[in-house]
Structure formats: C-alpha cells, structure tokens
C-alpha cells in the first residue's frame, strides 16, 4: 500500500481523521473543525483547498438565517484514501511497509 502524500501532511491528516468519524453524509462546520484540530482560519482554509482539489472533501458555503456558514464533509474518495493511508501506516508498524 503506497503512502498518500496529500493526506499525510499533519493538518490534513487531522482534518480527514475528524471528517471520517462522521456519518457518510454528515458535515462539520468550519469553526468546529478548526477547534477540533487546533488550526487557524487561514491554515485550515488552505489545507481544505488542497483536499478539495484532490477530491477528498466537499466544501459548502451557505446561509443559516442571515449568518454565512461554511461546512465540510469527506467524499467517498476521501474516506477511501484516508483508510488506505491508515493501512499504509499500520503496515509500517507491522514491518511490511516502507521504512
């Protein structure tokens, strides 16, 4: 199993770990995700853009009443890529992967 260099970056790994916990069609609000992984607005935004370009997350901007809200969810491809990367990491620990 090869490594996924997009997901492996520390902040992006945390983003995918958080989104992977949710039910398949569930979203996390931007502000809540930011607090969960300890990111700043700009930092999180940049990493989400990278993940979106890779097709791993979908970002939605909407209004709740009059308040703008940004929410994120993992795509099926993103969940699969994350699962594959976790497998890669475990294979290293089991002595079967790269070192």
């Amino acid at each position: 199993m090869p490594a996924n260099e997009i997901i492996h970056q520390s902040m992006r790994l945390k983003i995918m770990a958080a989104l992977n916990v949710l039910a398949p069609d569930a979203h996390l609000e931007f502000t809540r995700l930011k607090e969960l992984i300890g990111a700043t607005d700009g930092n999180l935004g940049a990493h989400l853009d990278t993940l979106e370009k890779a097709g791993y997350v979908v970002i939605e901007k909407l209004f709740v009443g009059k308040r703008p809200q940004t929410r994120v969810k993992a795509t099926r491809a993103g969940r699969r890529a994350f699962a594959d990367h976790v497998t890669y990491l475990r294979e290293i620990l089991d002595g079967g992967g790269d070192a």
């Binding site: 492996h8 916990v21 039910a23 969960l36 990491l89 475990r90």
Partner: protein
C-alpha cells in the same frame, strides 16, 4: 515518501486523538438537547409536585413516557448513524431496563416515602451519567457526581422545600449542563 515506524506510530496517535475528540464533541452536542429536555421536564414535574403534592402519581409516568419518546426522536435525529443499525433499539432497551430496575427496587424496598422516591430516581439517573462519563467524557462524570451530591444535600437539609430544591437545583442544573455542553461542543 518514506516513514519510519516511529513517525507512523505518531501519525496513528494523532489520528486516534482527533477521532476521540470528534466523537466526544458529537456526543456532547447531541446530549445538550437531551439535557435541555429533561431539565425542563424535571423542573416542571418537581414544581408541580411542590404545588400539588399528590400529582406525582400521574405527572411522573407522563413525564417518563413523553420524555422517553422525545429523547429517542432526538437521538435518531442527532445521531443519524444510529438509524437502521439497532442503535435506537439499544436506547429503548436501555431505558426500559433502567425503568424496570428502578421499579423492582421500589417494589422490593416498599413502602418508600415520597421523599425517598424523590431522591431515589434522580440519584439512579445520575449514577447512569457517572458510568457514561467513564466512557464518553468527563462532563458526564462531573455532572453525575455533582448532581448526586446536590440531591442528597437537599434530601437532608432542604426540609419541606425539597421538591422546590429539586426543581431548581436538579432541573435547573440539567438545563445549565445543556448550555455548557452546547458551548463545549461548538
């Protein structure tokens, strides 16, 4: 990209930590609605008991049934992953087991005074919160222990004001807990 086992282990630890935090945040957020619901119901129930002491015979069964139905609806709405996986059935079974256990204890220890019943049910519920807190998050543990202490304090110290004590301290405490959970999960 080449990783050594130490780096791989660190990444897996990071993943586990974030997954734990996310699950806890989701639990807290969903639980806040349930705290609001039962806080309001217990506040109203105890207040009614204070003004109409004999109302307990019909108020509490009505609260238990109505509150239970609304709780299951909230659980299925807030935790969609429970739908279709038996999660709702587990909650129903847990609630029924809780009621049956409590009922059996009441029958075996009968007759309990109204005051004893008033302390038994909240402390039984808070015991469940302590157990939940051991597994889900510290908040439930803290509220379980704190509420138990407050209920027992009222039992021994509040005299004739015990029902009012329960309304404001226990019911109000659950509502305050709901606000804290909502803030913590945000």
């Amino acid at each position: 990209m080449a990783l050594d086992p130490k780096e791989a282990a660190a990444s897996l630890d990071d993943i586990a930590a974030i997954e734990r935090r996310t699950r806890q945040a989701l639990h807290y957020s969903g639980a806040s609605d349930i705290f609001f619901l039962w806080g309001a119901l217990t506040f109203a129930g105890h207040l009614l008991n204070w003004f109409v002491p004999r109302s307990g015979f019909w108020v509490w069964p009505a609260i238990d049934i109505g509150g239970f139905i609304i709780t299951v609806a909230i659980m299925l709405w807030r935790f969609p992953h429970m739908r279709g996986r038996g999660g709702g059935l587990r909650w129903i079974s847990s609630y029924l087991a809780f009621l049956v256990f409590g009922g059996l204890v009441m029958v075996e220890l009968a007759p309990l005074t109204i005051r004893q019943q008033q302390v038994f049910w909240p402390t039984l519920v808070m015991f469940a919160y302590v157990l939940a807190g051991i597994w889900i998050g510290r908040f439930f543990l803290v509220i379980g222990v704190t509420a138990t202490i407050l209920v027992l304090a009222g039992y021994y110290l509040a005299g004739d004001l015990f029902a009012l004590w329960l309304a404001f301290v226990f019911g109000g405490g659950l509502i305050a807990g709901g606000f804290w959970l909502r803030r913590s999960a945000a």
